[in-house]
Symmetry: C2
Subunit: 416 residues, 2 copies
């Protein structure tokens, strides 16, 4: 970090980048640097082609026959297995379905049923709100004696709170706000030592960094299809349940797709023996087909390769921030240690909202998290090192020129 | 029924059909008569156009900004209101989200929480299995003292089973197998008289016949987007909750989209005051946009007009069956009285499976329901009276020629 990082150096890095060609697999808007792939991934070209095929042939012409002839019925498993490879799961443990929130309810309520006599769900106050809301919903349904949410304010307090009263430890691997990465292996092991089941939310890590669910002996995990997996807006989510639990489960959202033989129209529910028992209703085929195609972009990519570039991009961003005096008010919230950060950086700044709006106006899509956080996501499949250079240069210009103080950037619009 | 129905007469009916032009709004496979729109509706042309727009502009170019600029965030309500018009609901009571099964869980568990002290969910043995499975799942989660499923074998027994122990009466308006239509107004009233809340599943009625949820004083309803609403395979489902209940609800799948202010990232869940409280996770935008576009086909259609044609088509089918001696083994399971049938006909036949396969081979797409039912759906938006004539002629030919006895039609494939 002693010498200044220049554009020429970054051009060289792009030229040497083994993932550089992947950018061509995506449609990207012109004159835009997209640092929000952690909210909504960019569109892979194969996704559009696949959607077209589903419309022009599968739905319109082959109609109901497509459940078999185009294997719609297998899509949740097909997609699940493609994701499994990215999160360190051997076959038969991952399935795609519903939303992350709904899937969390399934694994959480299953886990609570397995942990009769324990009532606490332990999590972090800063966890993504929907995760906590889903626990609140289950607690309200079951009553406090059967389910109650307990929160720690800091990740360093988790260990101390692991007790024999805790049924489930529910954590998000990468914090949506700060980008902090938790130690999955260590925390899972500590929880297991107290008889606690562990649920990991991979929303901000799947497709961004190597994950080893099997090796970490994780019990359950859920994750999102539309962020780093590039499955399209609101793409179906996924769910992991370790094979060792499959025979002892009873998930309450037991719809026909999770039945052993859905099309026998049995009077009574009998769960499918494998991971399919977590399916509920009919999956949204168009959205799921697009996710299926999008995952093919990962087929020849190693997660280690992805991680290396992701860290390279964020390191470069932060180094460049340090090179601009105008940016010294930006306070990095994300841990600098590589083993403690995901694929995003979060900076505090008193004018974070205005900065974010001014960046967007200049074609740098970042996002804002209340009250004062500017959040930047680094997606190694379609970002270049030179993009990072330009993004920081624009940010520095916005600050040094006071452009961000324009009144138009002060008003908050409906936010996403 | 005294004179024989001939092709010329049906050509005349097509020429006079006020819905005839609607057929042009759909892509239909060549040389096919599609009598399975009650399983998966045909593709409206506007659906493909809309999907294209979501891919080519909204997702790929406008990316995350589309949540506001293309009103993705409002889609569940936008779609909900379009469906509301078709099911007799005034604004603010219908929302599109998740699958029918998941939505059923939401309204069922909400209703059970409102009915503390009563534990029985009363339904019909012949109800669509997923509805019953979802009750089983909830019962297993809550324990039998809080939730238990009680089934009547015949719809005529429902009234006798309505008692002060029943919390919820859960019925499907049109039976998926027989096509029998229940009397929503009468049954809802009878249930209310005993303090029972009523949930109607509209999977086989929404978009096929006039429904008056408000006028019938229904408490909750769920339904499917991919049958008569033509929203595409696995299209998002919908949910109705009467406004009078909105202030007293606490649905357990309380994800961030159902929060009063989802993007304030509040620590605690506070439900949205209106029907939005039934939202859970992020909706599959591509599938939901296609459903949204598909619903526009209904914009200038009156439900009474739809019903009249639907009944005309099925009446015509059954009359033509009666004109073919070879078809006298077909036993109609569907009630003939118009107030007792939906938009499909179900025939029992010892070789129903083979008949169905032979029909499909000849371009007439029907479906089979175990053990011996041939099921035919009549979708007034894209079927012609002459289609019915040809379909029955082909069926009669298959039987009289013994074509259906070919060994290739005897083997059951993976079914849908």
């Amino acid at each position: 970090m002693n010498t200044l990082l220049g554009l020429t150096q970054l051009e060289k890095r792009d030229a040497q980048d083994s993932l550089a060609a992947k950018r061509d697999a995506f449609i990207l808007p012109p004159n835009t640097i997209y640092l929000d792939g952690n909210s909504l991934g960019a569109m892979p070209k194969v996704a559009a082609t696949r959607a077209q095929e589903v419309l022009a042939t599968q739905w319109s012409l082959d109609l109901i026959k497509s459940w078999n002839s185009h294997s719609w019925i297998d899509l949740p498993s097909t997609v699940g297995e493609k994701i499994a490879r990215l999160i360190g799961a051997t076959p038969g443990q991952v399935i795609s379905c519903d939303s992350t929130s709904v899937n969390l309810f399934k694994v959480l309520s299953s886990a609570m049923l397995m942990q009769q006599g324990r009532s606490i769900v332990l999590s972090q106050q800063g966890n993504f709100p929907t995760d906590l809301y889903m626990v609140e919903g289950l607690a309200n349904l079951l009553g406090e004696q059967h389910c109650q949410l307990q929160l720690v304010t800091d990740q360093s307090d988790i260990e101390a709170q692991l007790s024999k009263d805790v049924a489930v430890l529910m954590l998000t691997q990468v914090d949506f706000r700060s980008g902090r990465l938790l130690d999955m292996q260590r925390l899972t092991k500590l929880a297991h030592a107290k008889g606690i089941l562990v649920i990991w939310d991979l929303a901000h890590s799947a497709g961004a960094l190597p994950i080893e669910l099997d090796a970490c002996n994780v019990d359950f995990a859920v994750g999102c299809g539309y962020k780093y997996l590039n499955g399209g807006p609101g793409a179906p989510a996924f769910l992991y349940a370790a094979k060792r639990h499959h025979a002892n489960l009873r998930q309450p959202l037991s719809g026909w797709m999770g039945h052993k033989t859905p099309f026998s129209f049995d009077k009574h529910y009998q769960n499918a023996p494998g991971i399919e028992q977590f399916l509920t209703g009919t999956p949204p085929i168009l959205s799921m087909s697009v996710l299926d195609a999008a995952l093919d972009v990962f087929a020849d990519v190693k997660m280690s390769q992805l991680r290396q570039k992701s860290l390279g991009l964020s390191r470069c961003f932060h180094q460049l921030v340090g090179q601009h005096a105008s940016l010294n008010e930006l306070k990095l919230l994300t841990p600098l240690a590589e083993e403690e950060r995901g694929s995003q950086l979060a900076y505090q700044h008193p004018n974070a909202y205005a900065l974010c709006q001014a960046l967007i106006k200049r074609g740098v899509i970042a996002d804002f998290r209340a009250p004062d956080i500017l959040r930047l996501g680094f997606t190694p499949l379609y970002l270049r090192y030179t993009d990072i250079w330009h993004a920081v240069a624009i940010l520095a210009d916005i600050v040094s020129s006071n452009e961000y103080l324009k009144p138009e950037y002060a008003v908050r619009h409906k936010v996403t």
